[in-house]
C-alpha cells in the first residue's frame, strides 16, 4: 500500500480529477495548500505597489492506493496536471503501513479499495 501525495496547480484540478476517474481512481482527499518551489511566485499589484507573491496557492491531493494502482494513479495525475511549465507541482509516494475503515473495522488492502 502506498500513500500518494501530489501538489498541483489549483486550476488543473478538473483535469486531474477527470484523468483519475478515467483510470478508475475515485477516492481522494483535496486540501488547500500554500507553498513555494522552483517557481519564483508571481506579481500582484495593489494601489500602485507591485509586490511579489512568494507562497503560491496549490492544492494537495492525498490518495491511498494498493500497489497495482500506484503507476496508473501517478500517470493520471501527470496527465491531468502537466503543462510543461515551472509550477506544475510534485508527486510524493510514501509507504503506508496500515489502513483502517472506521465503519467496518476492516484493515489493510481491504480497507483501501
Amino acid at each position: 500500500m502506498k500513500l500518494i501525495v501530489a501538489l498541483i496547480q489549483p486550476h488543473k484540478l478538473p483535469d486531474v480529477k477527470k484523468a483519475l476517474y478515467d483510470a478508475e481512481v475515485y477516492k481522494m482527499t483535496v486540501t488547500n495548500a500554500l507553498g513555494s518551489g522552483q517557481q519564483k511566485g508571481y506579481t500582484e499589484a495593489y494601489r500602485g505597489v507591485i509586490h511579489e507573491v512568494n507562497l503560491l496557492k496549490k492544492l494537495r491531493l492525498e490518495i491511498a492506493v494498493n500497489d497495482e494502482f500506484v503507476e496508473p494513479t501517478i500517470d493520471a495525475i501527470i496527465k491531468g496536471a502537466q503543462t510543461g511549465q515551472i509550477g506544475d507541482g510534485k508527486i510524493f509516494v510514501l509507504d503506508l503501513s496500515d489502513c483502517v475503515r472506521i465503519r467496518t473495522g476492516e484493515r489493510g488492502n481491504e480497507a483501501i479499495g
Binding site: H11, L13, L34, Y42, E44, K57
Partner: protein, 420 residues
Amino acid sequence: MTQESIQIITVGLDTLWVLLAAFLVFFMQAGFGMVEAGFIRAKNTCNILTKNFLDFCMASIGFFMFGYAIMFGDGNAFMGLKGWFLSGAQSGADIPLYAFWLFQAAFCGAAATIVAGGMAERMKFQAYLIYSFAISALIYPIVGHWIWGGGWLSALNFADFAGSTVVHTVGGTAALVGTIMLKPRIGKYKPDGKPNAIAGHSIPLASLGVFILWFGWFGFNPGSSLHVGDGSLIALVAINTNLAAAAGGISAMITVWKTVGKPDLSMAMNGALAGLVAITAPCAFVEPWAAITIGAIGGVIVVYGVILLDKLQIDDPVGAVPVHGMNGFWGTIAIGFFCKESLGLAQNGLFYGGGFKQLGIQMLGALSVIIFIIIGMSIVFKLINVTIGLRVSRDEELKGLDIGEHGMEAYGGFQIFTTE
C-alpha cells in the same frame, strides 16, 4: 404670488425631483455591482466590479459626446443628428438641459451594465470597455430616439413610460447575444448537456444589491414623470413599482418552490427584479391591481426563463436575460392588455375593451427593438472578437479573472477553495 414666480418655483421643484431621481438611478449601479458580484465566484469578483465601475464612466462620457445627440437631437425617424458634446442641445423636458442629461445618462449606464452579468466570469476586460462605449454612445441612444426622442415608434404612440424596452430589453438582448457568442463557462454543462450548478459566492452581497436596486427603482420609474405636478402621477407610479416587485418576489419563490422543492432566495430576488423590470413600461398607465398581476407573471417568467436557458445551454451566470430581456418584453406588451385611456394613453388596453390596437403597437415596437439589438450587438461583438478577442484563455478562466486581468484579488488574504 405672481404667475412668473409660481413658474420659477414649479421648474425648480421639477428640477429638484428629477435630479433626486437621477441620483437614485445612479445608485442602482451599486445594486447591479453587488448582485453580479454575489452571484459569481470569488475569483472573478474584482473583475466584475471593475467592469461595473468603468462602464458607468464610459457611459457618462459616451453619452455626453455622442449619445445625447443621437437620442434627443433633431434628426430623422431613425436617429438624432444635432447636439454633439451637448453643444446647442435642447432639453427634452421642462427642466434645465443638464438635469435632464444627468437623468438620461444614469439610464444609459444601467442599460450598459446589465450585460456585464450575462457575460460574467469569462469576458476580457478590454473587450468590455470597448463594448460599453459602443452601446452607450451609439446603440442605446438609437433605440432611445425611436421611443423617447421623437423617432418612428413614438410617432406610432408606442408606450414605454420608464424604459422596459429602452433600457431593459436593450440590455437583456445585448447580454443574450454576448453570452451566446462567448459560449458557456468551463464546467457549466456536463458532456451529456445537463447543467452544473456554479454557485454564487455571496448571497448577502447579492441580496444587498437587490435591495439597492429596488430602492433605486423609486427614482427610475417615478422620476420618469419628469415633473411633480400635483403629485398624483408619481404616487401612482411609486406604488405600482413597489407592488410589482413584491408580487414578483412572491411568485418566483412559489414557482421555484413548486418546481425544485426549496424556496431559493436567489430566485426570489431575481423575481423581485423581474417584477420591477416588467412594471417599468406600464407603471404610469395601469392600476395597482394590474401592477400586482404584471409583477407576479414576471416572477414566473424569470424562473422558467432560467430553466429554459439552461436547457438551451446558454450560460447566463446572473440571470440577466430572463430578468431584463424577457421581462422587458413582457412589461412592454403588458401595456397592451392592462392600460387605461384615462391614465394618458391613446386607447384602452385589451382588458378594458380597447381591442388589439395598443397591443399590436407594443408588439411591433418590442420586436423591432429586439431585432435591431440582435443585429447591432452581433456586429459590435463580432468586431471586438476578431480584433482583440472576447474571451480570456482557458487557463486564465480557471485561475480567475481577478489575477489574470487585474493582478489583484477581491479578497486579499483569503484562500479561495477551488473544487470544480
